[in-house]
C-alpha cells in the first residue's frame, strides 16, 4: 500500500494537473507564433513509445502478484495483447484478447 500522506497525494494531483495544463496550453497560449524546431518535434514524437513500454516491462516480467516470479499467464496475456494490437490496430480488441488470455491461462494453471 502507498506510504503517502493525504497532503502528498493531493499535491501530486494538483501539481500534475497544473503541469499537464501548462504542456497543453504551451503553444495554443503563445498563439502559435513560435514554431518548435524540427529536432524537438522529432524527439517529442516518440515520447509515448519511449515511456510506456519501460513503465510496464517490469510489471510483465516480474509481477508483484507472484512475488516477482515470472508468470506464464501474465506473460502470455501480454504477448496476446501486443499481437492483437499490432494486428487489428484496435485498442479494444487488444485489451479483450489480453484479458481473455489472462483468465483462460490462470484458470488452466489454477
Amino acid at each position: 500500500m502507498m506510504g503517502y500522506s493525504t497532503a502528498q497525494i493531493w499535491s501530486i494531483i494538483v501539481l500534475l494537473a497544473i503541469g499537464t495544463f501548462a504542456l497543453r496550453f504551451s503553444f495554443l497560449g503563445l498563439i502559435g507564433r513560435r514554431k518548435l524546431p524540427d529536432w524537438v518535434l522529432r524527439h517529442l514524437r516518440y515520447t509515448p513509445v519511449a515511456v510506456l513500454p519501460g513503465l510496464i516491462a517490469p510489471l510483465v516480467l516480474f509481477p508483484a502478484a507472484t512475488e516477482g516470479e515470472p508468470d506464464a499467464a501474465r506473460m502470455l496475456a501480454a504477448l496476446v495483447t501486443l499481437a492483437f494490437g499490432l494486428w487489428t490496430r484496435n485498442v479494444l480488441w487488444a485489451i479483450l484478447g489480453g484479458v481473455v488470455t489472462l483468465f483462460a491461462v490462470l484458470q488452466i494453471t489454477g
Binding site: 503553444f27 495554443l28 518548435l36 514524437r45 519511449a50 519501460g54 501474465r74 494490437g85 499490432l86 485489451i95
Partner: protein
C-alpha cells in the same frame, strides 16, 4: 501523426451548430475506448488506496489517462513525489506537440476558448480536430471551436463517469481477480497500434531494455533515463530512415 486525407473542402463552411454535431458524431467510436479505460483507472486507483474524491481529482484535473496510470503505478511503488511528477509529465510531453500543431488553426480564437481547448486536449480530440481542420482549411473560427467542443462533449463526461464507476465498483471487486494486470494490458493495447515505423519499434525496445539495464538506479530514475534514451533512439532512427529513403531515389 498524419490523419487520413479527407475529401477536399468542397462542402460549404460549417456553421457552429453543424460543426458541433459533426464533432460529436466523429467522436462516437472513441467512447468504446474511453469508457473501459476510465473504469480501469478508477478500479486501479481504488485498489492502490486512493479515495473516490482523489480518483476524481485525477480524472477531472489531470484528464490524461496514460499519465494518470503512470503516476499511480509509481505511487504504488512509493516513488518520491518528484519522480512521480517527472515521469507522468514525460508521458504528457506529447500534449505540447499537439498544442503546437493546433496553434496555427486556433490561434485567432479568444484566449478563453484556447484555454478550454487546451484543458480538453487529449489524443482523441487532437486527432479529430487536426484531421478536420486540415481537410477544411476555410472553416470559420467559430465552427472550428464548435467542432472541437462537439468532439469532446461526450468523451469528457464519459471519462469522468467511467472513472467514478470504476472507483466505486473497485471496492466490490472480489479478491483474487488479477487486477494488477489491468495496467500492463491497457498500456500494451495503447502502445501496439503506435508501433507504425521502425523508429517507433526501436524507441519501444530501447525503453524496455533501458529500464532493465538501469533498474538499480535509485528513486525510480531508471524509467526517466530509459525514456530519454528511447526518445533519442526514435529520433535517430527516423533521421536514418529519411536519409536512406533519399539516397534510394
Amino acid at each position: 501523426m498524419s490523419p487520413p486525407p479527407a475529401t477536399p473542402d468542397a462542402a460549404p463552411p460549417l456553421s457552429g451548430t453543424r460543426g458541433f454535431l459533426q464533432g460529436l458524431r466523429d467522436s462516437l467510436p472513441f467512447l468504446l475506448v474511453v469508457i473501459p479505460f476510465g473504469m480501469v483507472f478508477g478500479v486501479v486507483a481504488t485498489e492502490a488506496g486512493l479515495t473516490v474524491t482523489q480518483t476524481m481529482g485525477f480524472s477531472v484535473g489531470v484528464f490524461a489517462g496514460a499519465s494518470q496510470l503512470a503516476a499511480l503505478q509509481l505511487m504504488t511503488e512509493n516513488a518520491p513525489t518528484l519522480i512521480v511528477l517527472a515521469t507522468a509529465l514525460a508521458v504528457n510531453l506529447r500534449l505540447a506537440m499537439y498544442s503546437a500543431s493546433l496553434a496555427p488553426f486556433l490561434g485567432p480564437a479568444p484566449a478563453w476558448q484556447r484555454a478550454l481547448v487546451a484543458w480538453l486536449l487529449v489524443d482523441q480530440s487532437y486527432a479529430l480536430a487536426h484531421a478536420r481542420y486540415e481537410a477544411s482549411p476555410r472553416m470559420p473560427m467559430p465552427a472550428r471551436f464548435a467542432f472541437y467542443l462537439g468532439s469532446v462533449a461526450l468523451v469528457v463526461p464519459m471519462w469522468c463517469v467511467a472513472s467514478y464507476l470504476g472507483a466505486v465498483l473497485g471496492n466490490r471487486i472480489p479478491a483474487g481477480l488479477p487486477v494488477d494486470f489491468a495496467v500492463p494490458i491497457t498500456f500494451l493495447a495503447v502502445i501496439a497500434p503506435m508501433l507504425r515505423t521502425l523508429a517507433h519499434v526501436a524507441a519501444a525496445l530501447t525503453s524496455v531494455l533501458g529500464v532493465l539495464a538501469f533498474a538499480a538506479l535509485p528513486y525510480n530514475l531508471g524509467l526517466l533515463v530509459a525514456a530519454l534514451l528511447a526518445m533519442a533512439m526514435g529520433a535517430q532512427v527516423e533521421l536514418w530512415l529519411v536519409r536512406r529513403l533519399k539516397d534510394g531515389r
